[in-house]
Symmetry: C2
Subunit: 311 residues, 2 copies
Amino acid sequence: MVQLEKISSNRVSTGTLTKYSFPSTSLSLSTQFNIFIPSSASAQSPVPVLWYLAGLTCNEDTGAQKGGFLNSAGEQGVAVVFPDTSPRGRACRVRRTIGSLVRTPETAATIPPPPPLPSRAGFYINATNPKWAKYRMYDLITKELPAVLKEANLGLDLSRMSIMGHSMGGHGALMIYLKNPGLYKSASAFAPACNPSVTPWGINAFSNYLSAPAPAPSSDKEPPAEWLAYDSSHLLKQAAPGENLSVLVDVGTEDKFLKDGQLEPAKLEEAAKGKQGKVEVRLQKDFDHSYYFISTFSPEHIAFHAKALKA
Amino acid sequence: MVQLEKISSNRVSTGTLTKYSFPSTSLSLSTQFNIFIPSSASAQSPVPVLWYLAGLTCNEDTGAQKGGFLNSAGEQGVAVVFPDTSPRGRACRVRRTIGSLVRTPETAATIPPPPPLPSRAGFYINATNPKWAKYRMYDLITKELPAVLKEANLGLDLSRMSIMGHSMGGHGALMIYLKNPGLYKSASAFAPACNPSVTPWGINAFSNYLSAPAPAPSSDKEPPAEWLAYDSSHLLKQAAPGENLSVLVDVGTEDKFLKDGQLEPAKLEEAAKGKQGKVEVRLQKDFDHSYYFISTFSPEHIAFHAKALKA
């Protein structure tokens, strides 16, 4: 059983936000996350779980502090998990003694310098390039963290989960939702990178983290299958006919990265044609890429997920 | 006329948050502030103005990003001003040419090192100690900024103002409200320093910034009159019988600074006895001093002020 170390705890909304650290096998590093749990949660009355994946340059605190999610989540009785966004490069050796955990001082891990991306961006994928192959952010979010939370007996109902995210984390949320039909009740995203196998951030991340090399520039070749397997627009196009989709996406019309061609929500809309369920992509006039944009629409996203989680 | 330089602008809630800089005569320095203005505001239909004074170690961004005020303020049609909390020690020379503003590069001001307070805390008072006497935060908030906003024709109704704040800024909000009967319709505070003339933060600030020396330690002497003139509990005790008070204060029971004797809300309650109107002090179980506490109750504070501003 993984031992969670409590880092901090704050009463907020109708519950408590707690920050935990634990040694992650998916990353070979310690990692931190915040979790908001309404006070009503208990083993007898477990609450559904909503995941929030933050973007590049952010961490487990950003969404909790600036997203404006917690009052709505508290009213709805929904837990919200805020994982860290990337491997942080801190090694953590943990050994157990009878009944307690002894944490040896953290030592700087022997990690090669990060790829030429802003910050140590994880992109929520499992790296396969041998240089980075111990960074398995996808496994952390989809397998290890849910298992850790289940073991911790926090009053969560992990059979009812939904997922959302921002920017790189919006890509993460949509991609993880689409790759795991039935695992999440709904997905939503703020300004997500919808088509990363052919847009600059994604090409940069995939060509560094994944084994399959990039197609030659200006060739007409499709991106490699290993890349497409992490591309939401591709995954949505492949979605099985019977899959009942529940997706909400907001993008601001003044988002610099929309204008730069990093987000491509139209590609997601195109891929959604003829699919079952609902994939709603909304362009929000004059909004940008910031947390001011997110905090404006976060109550609507919470309501969207709460409806799916309680259906 | 003071020229405002626009630093940034973000669409949020039902309006826009804009950050401005201007050369402040109250501080002899440039200063920045954020202002949220609902899109409905116009010269024909000006909106009331709510001030938010942040605490020590914070600046003009903290409340705007983490306070959770803007969705409620937007719904209520109330503007919110977030001034910087302290003189930042950046000198700014500004000269005008026909039709435009030429800003010479900012140069580090010749400012003595800050007093032994965490960060360069302004405490929202006019310093009189000659060493700091160019720092007039009280004048900035009560006179210069309202005049600057009025001149800027932003669709604000500056005859309808209310004021709120957190911690050091809670002291500022209550003190400024009580010193200026009739100028603000209501005041509220999160975890304010209610009795700073006899509590450690206040003693530190007042003994550094003000001319009147501190009473000898453990003497029974009252604090000097110059200190009491910035002490909300003292000011409230002195409030004229006819003054119709409208004050809301929230303090978390797990607030470290409440336990340390920095806040003393009971002194404010005691001073309110027999006064006209309402001074409500609420202890919020298990909450602490953080913005998680503020963001939980900020919608209630906005509703409280909106009611007073629209009465």
